[in-house]
Amino acid sequence: MASIDINQVSKIYAGGNKAVHSVDITIQDGEFIVLVGPSGCGKSTLLRMVAGLEEISEGEVKIGGRVVNKVEPAERDIAMVFQNYALYPHMTVRQNLEYGLKNRNTPRSDIDERVAEAARMLEIDQYLDRKPRALSGGQRQRVAMGRAIVRKPAAFLFDEPLSNLDAKLRVSMRGEIKRLQRRLGTTSIYVTHDQLEAMTLADRLVVLNGGRIEQIGAPLEVYHQPASTFVASFIGSPAMNLMHAELHGDTLAVGPSTLALGGYAPASGEVTVGVRAEDLRVAAAQEQGLLFRLDYLEELGSQRLVHGHVGDQVLTAAMPLDVQLHDEMRLAVDPRRLHFFVRETGKRIAAAEAVPATPQPAMEVA
């Protein structure tokens, strides 16, 4: 077990292509960090640099206080779980689990003990003598995790380990990874492009975009106070509504609609305003609201998503099933629930008064 320090790390490929830009992350001992971002954002590259599979162009990576830039992957005291499992196809499950230990000259009795323990923990005892090809995707992923566990490394590195599984299995494996990590208390870095996976697993999220960190924070912090329009639209499903708007004193103008903010306007002039679908509700008779034209509905069972326009900008609202809907209606929102971003840079404008981040579970759309 160890802390991991990622210090001003960059990755520059031959030809000057910069995939990761001076990234700083400090990971506490035992913490579960999720790197999340769209494909090509450098999250896997970053993970592979920590693993030692990719050379670190600039900066340094410390694992347990030791700089490992020039250390071979095997010597870094890490274990990695790959997207396509990367099990050795010609070895039985047992041999797969043992291989790393054997190469380290672990005594036989020790190997047997650790393999048995990991197999019990992952409930793969009865498959130990099978070849990976005779296992289902979920079982293979367990074996891949077992291979990491038996090593008792200082850190686990997960590279999109669940993306090859079907949706249902993914949810249950997600729970299992979380449970396992809690139980072992091993520092973990987990890479995914799935924001839901990121939200549910992480102690802290690192949102990456274009090789740069957009935001680091606890899942709810990132959800309720996204640092940029990118984070706002990436984390949460449905994505946060982002609209062009203008602030005139204390009044927000979105297209033809205006909202009085009651003292919550953090700036003035042109801004991007963000609002979560679930923070919108149908306005009461005399209440102010955004003029909304309904386009279509998506039924999710527990609620429905209402897609439509405000002026010429699209807006999605989540509504309980019992709300009466009209083709044209006004949608109200608590001004404290609005997010303001600088129009040009997409950076968050700090609220005049801190937005209270009432804990609210991430909405799950599956």
């Binding site: 693993a51 030692g52 599979l53 071979e72 992957p73 095997a74 890490i78 274990a79 990695m80 790959f82 997207q83 396509n84 499992y85 990367a86 099990l87 050795y88 196809p89 010609h90 070895m91 291989y99 790393g100 190469n103 380290r104 291979r147």
Partner: protein
């Protein structure tokens, strides 16, 4: 549908007859006495001389020096065939490993240079090769017979393609598991290439077994004669009005055919897997 099946079978039967009959004729003829063959030509019936002819072929000390027996030639052919096949596999696997997994300058160039030698058959470089071997004093040795033929563009190419299809994650997993380059090669790549190795082994064994020109140049000492040379030798012994030993030539030809056939039959399923399946 029924009719189709019938013609299908007919075509297949005709095809196999076309391939089988010459072999059967050779075998049947080999069981007749030489004089018999000389007067009656080829034959499709059992001649009854089977034991005598084959015993003679395998044990009689023939040739000019009287030092070489049929079994000795079979052994030589095996040494050539197996040494040739194994050597080629080892060499081309190592070459392909270097080309695919090591970041060398000129790796691609090296590959293409090897690849273009596919276009040059042995015959083109046979004189220089002979010269080199002769200056190294390797004429009339097994080393001289085998080593110059070992570099194999075909094998290197096949293994390169195979290694390229092995997922990178496997290498990365092995690196994290603490396996160095040699361990990775032996513990992971070689077992994964099993079917490929079998396929190449068959192709190369048959190729080596059937070598004629090179052994003829390299060996003057009859102790190193291979079956392919032996067959020729029998028909060349042409003294006075003596009838050539047709029966022995046929017997030797049948013997020469057996090992490759056996190897193909034994390794058949692997062979097909190796060439068609990418089992990872």
């Amino acid at each position: 549908m029924q009719k189709n099946k019938l013609t299908d079978h007919l075509v297949l039967i005709l095809g196999s007859l076309f391939l089988m009959v010459p072999v059967v004729v050779a075998f049947m003829t080999s069981t007749h006495a030489a004089a018999d063959i000389h007067s009656n030509g080829l034959s499709l019936t059992w001649g009854g001389n089977f034991v005598e002819t084959y015993e003679k072929v395998l044990t009689r000390e023939g040739g000019f020096t009287g030092q070489v027996t049929g079994s000795r030639m079979v052994m030589n052919s095996f040494i050539l065939g197996i040494g040739f096949a194994l050597g080629k596999i080892v060499l081309s696997m190592l070459a392909a490993y270097a080309i695919v997994y090591f970041r060398m300058r000129f790796a691609t160039l090296a590959f293409w240079v090897i690849f273009t030698t596919l276009l040059l058959p042995l015959e083109v470089r046979i004189m220089p090769s002979y010269q080199v071997m002769s200056e190294l004093g390797l004429l009339n040795t097994y080393t001289g017979l085998i080593v110059p033929l070992l570099a194999s563009a075909t094998g290197t190419f096949y293994f390169r393609q195979f290694f390229k299809s092995v997922p990178d994650e496997l290498l990365e997993a092995a690196r994290i598991d603490g396996a160095g380059p040699i361990k990775f090669f032996i513990d992971v790549l070689v077992p994964l290439s099993r079917t490929m190795i079998a396929a190449i082994f068959i192709i190369m064994f048959v190729y080596g077994w059937n070598q004629y020109l090179w052994p003829m140049l390299m060996t003057t000492d009859e102790r190193f004669f291979t079956l392919m040379r032996g067959i020729k030798q029998i028909l060349q012994v042409w003294i006075g009005s003596q009838i050539p030993d047709y029966n022995e030539a046929f017997a030797l030809a049948v013997l020469a055919m057996l090992p490759p056939v056996l190897i193909v039959v034994i390794f058949q399923s692997w062979f097909i897997k190796g060439l068609t399946e990418s089992d990872k």
